[in-house]
């Protein structure tokens, strides 16, 4: 099993890193932080800036099939891109739309087409949602029934899991109190809790029964978990780079503080931990994409998708948090000033490490699978 990115995957990740380097510098992330001081409403992001640049490159629609205007990419080809989106601490809901909700929309379109029981309204809405993804007119988010936070506080479209079925809701026509913005430790993050009392789900919004779509729904949630892990791995890189730079500049006793074992060993450990989290993340993405070799019998129960997914999320959460802690400590006092860019990455790390299940949760999932 090869864990390196494919040539295409590498090309996509390089292109996204280059683009984000110019359109989404830390100052961009900081604008979302600043906006949160006064209001948790998501700043307008479609039609401009990094979102539009990524739409033009075909990132947002990459996982949609070619016949609806996507590039037909599998998740495994996008995992490097998720790392880069994480490394830029991009506030726009690109990951939630591109690798989680959009391919789910495409899967559901196929299911709805096959079952043929959905209302004409929702079929039309589904087409519109797919068009919106391709045109970059709206973000799409998923709202699971377990009350997980919705990854985009003002998604244009919302895929809602409810008793007896999956619904597609136009986010722009939701009552104002249906999606309640939640303050995150990361000021650039815009998450919301769905208040189902203010949600009007009916036959006109129902796509299909949960049974028919169970596989697609579970796959989407697993992609969300691995994409989150990939972002965490990506976040570790700028934190390490900033810190290595800093400990080379900051001098004490006439030498850079980075020359002290207490500093350099700590950073070496963090770098090692981070690198060791990469293969589990890439492997989980390969498993979810059904890459040849991942169904190998030798893997036995480890080949089970959820084990691979949970291993990835646990490893990435731990590694990124270790890097964040080392980075904060090695920066000394300056690391505690929120004006420092380290905070943009560190607080995103704190938020994502606990989102989609923290390390302990995922370790217990792995344990349950291994010990049953």
């Amino acid at each position: 099993m090869r864990f390196a990115l494919s040539d295409d995957g590498l090309g996509f990740a390089d292109a996204v890193r280059d683009a984000l380097g110019s359109v989404a510098p830390p100052a961009h992330v900081r604008r979302w932080w600043d906006a949160a001081e006064t209001s948790l409403v998501t700043p307008p992001f479609t039609g401009d800036g990094p979102w539009q640049a990524l739409v033009d490159m075909g990132v947002v629609s990459a996982c949609l099939p070619g016949d609806v205007g996507g590039a037909g990419l599998r998740f495994v080809e996008m995992v490097g891109v998720c790392e880069e989106l994480g490394a830029a601490a991009l506030p726009e809901p690109v990951v939630a739309t591109a690798v989680v909700a959009a391919p789910l929309l495409a899967d559901l379109a196929q299911i709805v087409d096959g079952v043929g029981e959905a209302s004409p309204e929702v079929v039309e809405a589904l087409e519109q949602a797919l068009d919106d993804v391709v045109a970059g007119a709206a973000a799409v988010a998923v709202a699971p029934q377990d009350d997980t936070l919705v990854e985009c506080a003002d998604a244009g479209w919302l895929l809602v899991e409810a008793d007896g079925g999956l619904h597609l809701v136009d986010g722009r026509s939701l009552p104002a109190n249906a999606l309640v913005p939640q303050r995150s430790v990361d000021g650039a993050r815009r998450v919301a809790r769905l208040d189902r009392a203010h949600l009007d789900l009916s036959a006109a919004t129902q796509l299909c029964g949960t049974g028919e779509a169970a596989t697609a729904w579970v796959a989407a949630r697993r992609r969300a978990e691995v994409a989150c892990a990939a972002q965490l791995v990506g976040l570790g890189r700028p934190m390490l780079a900033l810190t290595v730079d800093y400990v080379n500049q900051r001098r004490q006793f006439g030498v850079p503080v980075g020359s002290f074992q207490a500093v350099k060993h700590q950073l070496a450990d963090a770098a090692l931990h981070l690198e060791f989290a990469v293969p589990p993340v890439r492997f989980a993405a390969a498993v979810l994409s059904g890459v040849e070799g991942t169904e190998d019998a030798e893997w036995g129960p480890l080949g089970e998708p959820q084990v691979a997914v949970s291993t990835a999320k646990a490893a990435a959460s731990d590694a990124a948090e270790q890097v964040a802690a080392a980075a904060l400590q090695c920066h000394g006092a300056i690391g505690y000033t929120v004006e420092h860019d380290l905070h943009l990455y560190m607080k995103r790390t704190w938020a994502l490490a606990r989102s989609h299940g923290d390390a302990a949760t995922h370790r217990s999932i792995v344990a349950t699978h291994l010990l049953r």
Partner: protein, 260 residues
């Protein structure tokens, strides 16, 4: 409207460049990327071809070891095909030699209406190749274009000057060098990146260009690098404590330098 763009592949400027003490030239054994200054040419060419209602954009490049990573970026942006000249005999080729090789490569592209180059590369900075190329191709050349329009078989260029710009017209075919900022280069799309791998890439050796080994490389160069040394470290200055004669000492110091 068929346009040829000269595209140089250079070591990533983000990584500190290193000189090889053996060959006394820049180390180019790592990954090479498309020179950012050439992205403007590629973008300009794509837009001109688009505005003309069709035509192909072809990249020509000279690089060691058949390196294609930078070329692929240009193809991913939308260029249709590429010609790459790579040969061990080309090591050490100077600006004029490079122009000879590029001229030969441009000659392999049929029906080129326009040749675009950057004003200079971001690693070599000689800034002479565009004019040398035009001379070797026997074409007129316009340099430092900050705006290009094509109409009636002519190219209309706003040519950057110190004070503003000159308006220059030139009949096609010709060679135009473009400044950074002539257009905003696009980011390669994912579909473009995937398609780039299957676009025609013509890889030529020196023999295919019709040039002889003594016209290029170290042999053909009109120059020789005799040594490479680190820039000397700045020495600490002299500190004069003012005991009342400070001014005199400064004057004496300046007199010693023949400045007063």
């Amino acid at each position: 409207m068929n346009i040829v763009v000269c595209a140089k592949q250079i070591p990533d400027p983000a990584e500190p460049g290193e000189l090889d003490p053996e060959t006394k030239t820049l180390k180019r054994d790592g990954k090479l990327i498309l020179d950012e200054s050439d992205m403007y040419g590629v973008e300009m060419a794509l837009q001109l071809a688009d505005n003309a209602g069709g035509g192909e954009v072809t990249l020509v490049s000279m690089a060691p070891d058949n390196k294609v990573d930078g070329i692929r970026t240009g193809l991913a942006m939308g260029a249709a095909k590429a010609v790459l000249v790579s040969d061990p005999a080309l090591a050490g080729t100077d600006a004029l030699g490079t122009a000879k090789v590029l001229a030969a490569a441009v000659g392999k592209v049929e029906g080129a209406d326009l040749v675009l180059t950057a004003t200079e590369s971001s690693d070599g900075y000689t800034g002479t190749v565009p004019e040398q190329l035009a001379e070797l191709l026997g074409l007129p050349s316009v340099t430092f274009a900050k705006h290009i329009e094509i109409a009636d078989g002519k190219v209309k260029v706003q040519r950057q000057t110190d004070a503003g710009y000159d308006e220059v017209e030139c009949p096609l075919p010709c060679v135009v060098s473009v400044t950074a900022g002539v257009v905003e280069p696009r980011y390669p799309s994912f579909k473009g990146i995937m398609a780039a791998k299957s676009k025609p890439l013509d890889q030529l050796a020196l023999a295919d260009t019709g040039l002889e080994a003594d016209q290029v490389g170290w042999a053909g160069g009109g120059q020789e690098i005799v040594g490479v040394e680190d820039a000397p470290e700045r020495e600490a200055g002299e500190i004069i404590e003012d005991d009342g004669t400070g001014a005199e000492k400064i004057v004496a110091y300046l007199e010693n330098l023949k400045l007063v």
